[in-house]
Amino acid sequence: MRFLFIALLFVAAPGLCANDYAFPINNPFLATVVGTPEPLRAELPDKARLKIRRLSRADWEMPEAMWFSERLEYSYRMQRGPAPMIFLIAGTGGFHNTGKNLPLLKAFFQAGFHVVGITSPTHSQFVVAASTTGVPGHQKNDAEDIYRVMQQIRDDIGQQDRVTGYHMAGYSLGATNAGFVAELDSRKKVFNFDRVLMINPPVSIYSSISKLDRMLQNIPGGMDNFGLFFNNVVQAITGAYKQSSTVEFSPDLVFEAFKDNPPTTEELGALIGIAFRLASSALIFTADQRTDFGFIKPSNVHLTRNTSLGEFGQVAVRVGFTDYYHEFFWPFYEPQYPDESRDSFVRLHSLYAIEDYLKGAQNIAVFHNRDDVILAAGEIDFFPEVFGDRATIFPNGGHLGNLEYSYNMAKIVGYFK
């Protein structure tokens, strides 16, 4: 009888324990920027010892000023014996082996999986080397690109006799990518993923990018002070530079620079907005070069390896994701979608587009935070409704702030076990 009572307690625990979840940062903006405090992080090896390889060059014309991005890199590490392989897709502007990809790859490898890190389709290297259209953010196209890249990587690594199955994980935009890739795989059946984990995905990409753009209204003095605030952020990043620092302009690494010295609460939102601006500016300028669309680079102008790009950079950081959507992305795809409108096209790039699939896909789970700053009010409810008990919602953590928390990391790794 007593045994039964205790067993019941354990069954009920996940529901009861919502209040006992001990991630200590309750301000979601602060959590997003500073992440998990060092002592509370999962224990991981110092070095990931990943191997880095480059795929062969695609056959489309590459922009000359992006000559250094002509081949897509990926990282991987194989176990000695047979094991399942986990593909991990980076978030917005993220590279295959830096930022939040790094702790996840370490944790997965430590837990006995072969690991492969994949660069986000929004990273400029992916846009140049692996995006068929050159205009990223289109979820179906991006999923097809990622899917093709995954197959190229599988063939490039070889040693498939040691791979006993395939899993996939992604965080932030990479989680949305993973959802669309899983849907594609359910039809193409190349990998037949055993398990897929989506960590903190946006529900609607458009709604999240609008929210990120709006965060810049928190700049002290408003958007008129963008230039000054941007300068201060760059100044802080350079001030934090040490010889041992990796220099990368992705959101993860911008937050890294502010981890020990976060700004005041009002400015945190603005900082998050700026961090994503650095990523969006890279994406937008690269897409503009791939397509000669004439967004910030005049369409009839060719950029050489030596062309000074400063002025384009200055403009690119002033342009937001929503500008990209309305004045580049939609006009670019419009001719291919005569039945869609500017507003209805938004839905194709949200999880609503694959909602039916996600409802039935027992091999997909989602981890999210109730206070994630990239979600609009009420959007969090999408996950329990669609995923049912395959959705785990943590009460706090902001956008990925609790990713490296030992409790979360154990849950993430445990999902694949």
Binding site: A65, M66, F68, G93, F95, H123, S124, Q125, F226, G227, L228, F230, N231, V234, Q235, T238, G239, Y241, Q243, S244, S245, T246, V247, E248, F249, S250, A279, S281, A282, F285, T286, D288, G294, F295, I296, P298, S299, N300, V301, H302, L303, T304, R305, N306, T307, S308, L309, G310, E311, F312, G313, Q314, V315, A316, V317, R318, V319, D323, E327, F328
Partner: protein, 252 residues
């Protein structure tokens, strides 16, 4: 001297190619087509953007930046990886300690020139401890004893004397710098050759150990990798980064 020859050749190549224009090339029509977003529409002219910095040597600098990428990727980094693979960590630490200690000589003279006697004394003390107890600098006894470590070069000294940084300058192999610090580097090197603390004059073969190890150690401790920032504006952003880092070092 071999490294100097390679350096000069790279410099000449850069100067030869550096005349290339940094302007975009119009491929059809007479004038650039107006893009959706232009700088006139968006930019406040009263704020200095980190993207736009006076860079009169940009053509040369961009060429050199690319040269460094190739040198780094095909020569330096493979050598560093071999070094890491072949030489065990404790020995590499010994090498790093040796050079850190050896550069105390340079730091000392620069601190004297900067008129900072207290720091110069600290540097002397550290050098004395590590050279003796630390066995020619292989062990960093001084840091364990809590003695402060400074690193000063002639570029910083010129900065302290009031010289501005001058134009941004990307040096072959050494990477991003500025005119003042480039000149400072030349003076530091010339001074070291003249002082000849390791007595290369009588033992020329020592150079074949000294230079390769110094280059390997210098590259080994810098995490930066060319074209890995994920930004098409890497050249511009690294320029801002390096100029600020040097400003901070001079002010320290």
């Amino acid at each position: 001297m071999m490294p100097r020859t390679v350096f000069s050749i790279a410099l000449v190549i850069g100067l030869a190619l550096g005349g290339c224009s940094t302007k975009p090339v119009i491929i059809s029509g007479d004038a650039p087509e107006e893009p959706v977003f232009t700088s006139e529409r968006l930019i406040e002219s009263d704020v200095q953007s980190p993207f736009v910095i006076n860079d009169p040597l940009e053509g040369f600098n961009r060429t050199m930046y690319r040269f460094n990428y190739h040198a780094d990727r095909w020569v330096l980094m493979p050598a560093v990886r071999t070094y890491r693979f072949l030489i065990p960590q404790p020995l590499r630490t010994g090498v790093r300690n040796f050079f850190n200690n050896f550069f105390n000589i340079r730091t000392f003279f620069n601190q004297v020139l900067q008129g900072r006697p207290v720091r110069a004394m600290q540097t002397t003390g550290r050098f004395a401890v590590n050279t003796t107890l630390g066995i020619a600098g292989l062990f960093d006894v001084a840091s364990h004893a809590g003695m402060p470590y400074h690193r000063e070069d002639f570029g910083q000294t010129l900065g302290v004397w009031g010289f501005g940084p001058g134009a941004y300058l990307v040096l072959p192999f050494f990477g991003p710098s500025n005119i003042r610090d480039g000149a400072g580097l030349a003076v530091d090197s010339a001074f070291q050759s003249w002082l000849d603390p390791l007595n290369f004059d009588d033992h020329p073969s020592r150079q074949y150990v000294y230079y390769p190890l110094m280059i390997l150690d210098t590259r080994d401790k810098v995490a930066f990798q060319y074209f890995r920032t994920g930004s098409p504006f890497e050249y511009e952003l690294v320029r801002r980064l390096i100029l600020t880092v040097r400003e901070i070092e001079v002010a320290k």
